[in-house]
Assembly symmetry: C2
Homo-oligomer: 248 residues x 2
Amino acid sequence: MLQDHQTLLQHDCGDCAIRHRAVCARCDTDELLRLEQMKYYRSYQAGQTIVWVGDRMDFVASVVTGIATLTQTLEDGRRQMVGLLLPSDFVGRPGRATAAYDVTATTDVLMCCFRKRPFEDMMARTPHIAQRLLEMTLDELDAAREWMLLLGRKTAREKIASLIAIIARRDASLNLRRAAGALAVDLPLTREEMADYLGLTLETVSRQISALKRDGVIRLDGKRSITIPDFDRLLEEAGDDADGGLPV
Amino acid sequence: MLQDHQTLLQHDCGDCAIRHRAVCARCDTDELLRLEQMKYYRSYQAGQTIVWVGDRMDFVASVVTGIATLTQTLEDGRRQMVGLLLPSDFVGRPGRATAAYDVTATTDVLMCCFRKRPFEDMMARTPHIAQRLLEMTLDELDAAREWMLLLGRKTAREKIASLIAIIARRDASLNLRRAAGALAVDLPLTREEMADYLGLTLETVSRQISALKRDGVIRLDGKRSITIPDFDRLLEEAGDDADGGLPV
DNA sequence: GGTCGCACTTGATCTGTGTCAAAGCCCGGA
DNA sequence: TCCGGGCTTTGACACAGATCAAGTGCGACC
């Protein structure tokens, strides 16, 4: 019953060995119960816009299942994705009244929500929540900076390889779907969404995926599902140093 | 005597009308005094590297005077700036042992430092610090996302205009150097640093600055100092919507 | 089973920015 | 005063990726 938002409260307290699974019963029971009473759910269909820039935001939430994106748009329609929300990611900013980005459901999405005001009050009372939120925000900031390097300095081929590596890594850490040697990943994004992630056009995305396939770096099973025969080879193509992904 | 790190502890408590100047005496006196005892200074010369990626980080700090940058580098030397640290900005990540980025002093820099361990302990005891740090980190995340839009989707000309607008805005909010109509700004960065900020080459930066000058969007007084006759015109060139800068 | 529509691929061409190279400017030191 | 070196500007050219335009494949719906 606590599963949906436990990532919000978890913290390193020494008692909880497995950080991403356990919630420390000793310290957080009261807060957990209070939070439990506050939560409610919202679900959205694939393609649906969850909030528009400038909308009044009266809630904060975390993604339970599905994938959502944060995007920014220039007046003439150029779009850049600035956040990719996977299960357990947090949406919304305590202390801000209106949304700064468009939030869109890429697949069907279930969110676990908390009304903003009581959540903020609670944050003021229970230091663990602010500390946990700080930790999550710092992780996001690191991811954003890695992303900036990608956008500013990588070639189209490196961008595609990086994106596949990022998805594979986040995916693998959730699902442990690592077969012997080869790794199966499915891309939860359309070519256009990948383009918006990478600062490219969809044509370029398509061409570079074809090129990586031609060169044996990836194999395609259908259009959205790929296998990676050699992950290190992929990382090499991504141009990163050593382990080349989001610092975690 | 408290001036150097007061931004770290300030918060909205109702008593302090002017957020960026006042520290609420009622709530924070003890913490301020403890923090005061812990602080020490380091200074760096222009061009000097403050920390290298992977270095052990035994302190956190905030910039008192001068400008520093965070950069990431690919193996073949391509560089991308991922953070620009102006006075009052925070450096270092509580809970992380090694630096994730190169930190370099662009001008002479004075930093107000705290040893990491005691700072972390203090953070655990005094919720205000974590909350304040969260607020600052969320601001940085917003800035990073604006930056991602710039890197992924703006043209070279728009990038330059945006950078000038960003510097002018941060500068103006600190110094209130807004003359009637025209606005004088000096660029604290070399052409190469601007290029690293914007994901361009220094030649392109130079060409676009010349173009903006030719078109009357900016005027140059020497190489590093510009005046902006019409700020709205500049924002238009930057391609942003409405007020087009870092959301604050 | 056919056909409609949408996501994707592929091709031809165009263009903005990178690359390479040279020259100018300015400041500091001898 | 002149010289040297770093920062900057400018030019000529190359090329990665954008743009425009067909075409393909595949699932949904009749």
